[in-house]
Assembly symmetry: C2
Homo-oligomer: 429 residues x 2
């Protein structure tokens, strides 16, 4: 599965820099304006292939199906790995240059192929649980340096476990959803009481999230060498954060209001099968993890190039403000999932598990505004000359990601979110 | 709604100390051994009234229904307050002494009435989100005294907001489910690395949880004076906790593995309509909360007597180890819900929001073993002479709760959970 057949081509015209090559085939939920119906599709070049049509036409018959004339992918994912494999093979064959079924059937193409520009993407799965980890050593070190103690930036548990916390599944939203600037409690002056205010230090967090493909039973942890069997795929995640709200609220029970207003994901789930050729090692782990976290395989990470762009309201062009890579993550997804379940916690199909902010070793690879502008001491200059320490009203943040090797590209597309002004509140009415 | 008609009686024989008087009528999901089918019922004395039968017989016709031949109450709750009111009135009438419909129809009684002892109770709702607050001042002070600084036991944000954190909805389980002792990372010796071990400081937390009855839209906070419209009812909650795992993991992102293995709830949802006669004031709040948390009504709490019993494996009798009251809670449920949504977080029908451990002012009213045995320095002596600092294998913890006034009792029944020995792990295989 991890070798690339780079002779494989599609009859559909796909630009060489497209994220959605025939080697990718990510799953999403889309609707067109005509029917408005939500159903499953696969991205191919600039198109979406409607999987519900393939099912109806008898071209994609999976055990226990049909699965794709539905508004989420949960049932398909829950149907198991054999179906994942069969679906991928069938779809890849149908899209390949040397298969006539779809290639030579203009009527079928008309029914089954949509331009991505003409459809609306929706959240690909119902998300029963959302968890966020904190697994970039560079990010944890940067935050610890700014907020706690530069000489002891990493807390002692950080090197021993993939630290994580429960997020809020109800506010996992799909790319393109505008976000109202949150209001809440801030404490700008340490000597005064807190105030109620719109957030003044609004930030993004560049993350990926994996989608759980197979659950466990309560009380039965997932062994670390089995964990990859439980992962279906990955998305990009912008875990929007209100830094000033966070700073005041987070001791002792962790971030809450600062993180629960919006966790925005890219619409296409890139399967682990598509990412397999881009496996690479995690950074060396020192000390060696406790046995329950100790993986046999060292190829437990992925080489995924990631970037963040910022587009102010009236700007002509976005400015790239971060370029980094998923491979910098210290803890692997398998370790995260095993740690999550080690006390018996149940995970479910569709659960999303965020990586935590992915920062690289250099300032241009930091994955949050907090780090890039170093707690507002080093504002970033954008293309039009504007500067930013945090995100302002009207700003759009765009995150992108792709893997590339031997001329083959497998990409995530983007997660894009725009900030709307805060609500006005009148508490005297 | 808040006056009690204590002339109202049922034709069903109900003991005077029953939690399930005709004034209560809590909702749950049950199955009998014959059909195995999960459907909704109401507890009345020692019986369950099958609401799906009432619907089938045309005795309970709600707008948009039927609702009760289902395995969760979410659809009924989501149908709105008019239906809650109508269902309560209809069921109360059908069960009253002076109504002949059910009273004089032996066939209907046979179909619709089951002994509670003969049925199995299930989780009453699908729980999309689980949140835990920390709203007992006594509990927060006790924990802060033991773990941080006796002179500054309460952290500065505690008096300003109902501090809370996201829990794990997937492991909300119903009373009667046994719990495997969790294993995970502990750090018994500060100078050594952590170890992997079964939890040695397993604890309960006496809580209630409210069930969200009406959601909001993302980005649209719920105003504090509207919050009670969004609450359907309450349950008892034992938020099982692994204190040693918690201590090592919780800085900086809050409790995670220590709390995600089991949050156990009582099976009957007591409606806010049934609890209305027992309204009382929260403790005085000083300083006065910020405007967004400032309630017009001062009757924002409830007088609910709560207790915890511990029953060791081979003991004949349980020992009451805590008696307290919900009215000690500093922050109201309305304030919790408003704070939860103030930055725009969406809440959904069926969400459960835990109160946090409910401790009273005296040691016999503390709501966790950690506090009762004061961090293992004051072990509790049980009836048989055994002592406990934390919960041991085979122990059963039973929590009960009820309100009583003018000879009328409205109770929760119980949440009961037993601890099974930890799994054994073999990481060398």
């Amino acid at each position: 599965m991890s070798t690339i057949d780079n002779t494989l081509t599609s009859f559909i015209n796909i630009a060489s820099d497209s994220d959605f090559s025939i080697h990718n085939l990510p799953y999403g939920i889309f609707s067109d304006t005509k029917s408005g119906k939500h159903r499953a599709g696969v991205a191919i070049g600039e198109h979406v292939l409607d999987l519900s049509v393939l099912e109806t036409e008898g071209l994609l018959s999976l055990n226990g199906g049909p699965y794709f004339n539905q508004s989420t992918l949960n049932a398909f994912i829950d149907s198991g790995r054999d179906n994942w494999t069969q679906a991928r093979q069938t779809i890849q064959t149908l899209l390949s240059s040397d298969n006539a079924t779809l290639r030579d059937n203009a009527d079928l193409q008309k029914k089954a192929l949509f331009k991505q520009a003409d459809v609306t993407m929706h959240l690909p799965v119902r998300v029963p649980g959302f968890t966020d980890f904190y697994s970039s050593k560079e990010h944890a070190t940067n935050v610890g340096t700014m907020f706690r103690d530069p000489n002891n930036a990493l807390l002692p548990n950080w090197n021993e476990m993939p630290v994580g916390y429960n997020g809020r599944a109800s506010t996992v939203i799909v790319s393109g959803t505008d976000i109202v600037r949150p209001s809440g409690q801030l404490k700008p002056n340490p000597d005064d009481r807190p105030i109620f205010s719109a957030c003044k230090r609004l930030d993004f967090e560049l993350e990926t999230a994996f989608v759980v493909g197979k659950g466990n039973h309560i009380g039965q942890p997932i062994a670390v060498d089995d964990a990859s069997d439980h992962i279906f795929g990955m998305v990009l995640l912008n875990d929007w954060s209100a830094r000033d709200i966070q700073k005041w609220e987070y001791v002792p029970l962790g971030p809450f209001n600062a993180k629960t207003f919006a966790s925005e994901v890219s619409p296409w789930i890139i399967t682990m099968d598509a990412l397999a050729p881009f496996k690479t090692a995690c950074p060396a782990q020192e000390p060696k993890p406790l046995a329950y976290l100790n993986e046999k395989s060292s190829d437990n990470s992925f080489d995924i190039h990631l970037s963040v762009e910022l587009l102010p309201k009236d700007a002509e062009k976005a400015t790239v403000i971060c370029e980094t890579n998923f491979k910098y993550m210290y803890w692997s997804m398998a370790q995260q999932l095993t740690h999550h379940t080690i006390t018996g916690c149940k995970v479910e199909v569709g659960d999303m598990m965020g990586s935590g902010t992915i920062s690289g070793p250099t300032p241009d690879s930091y994955g949050s505004m907090l780090e890039i502008a170093w707690n507002a001491t080093k504002p970033v200059t954008l293309k039009g000359g504007e500067t930013r320490s945090f995100i302002e009203d009207g700003d759009t943040v765009i995150m992108k990601g792709y893997s590339e090797k031997d001329g083959i590209r497998v990409g995530f597309g983007e997660v894009r979110g725009k900030i709307l002004p805060a609500l006005s509140f009148d508490f005297d009415k």
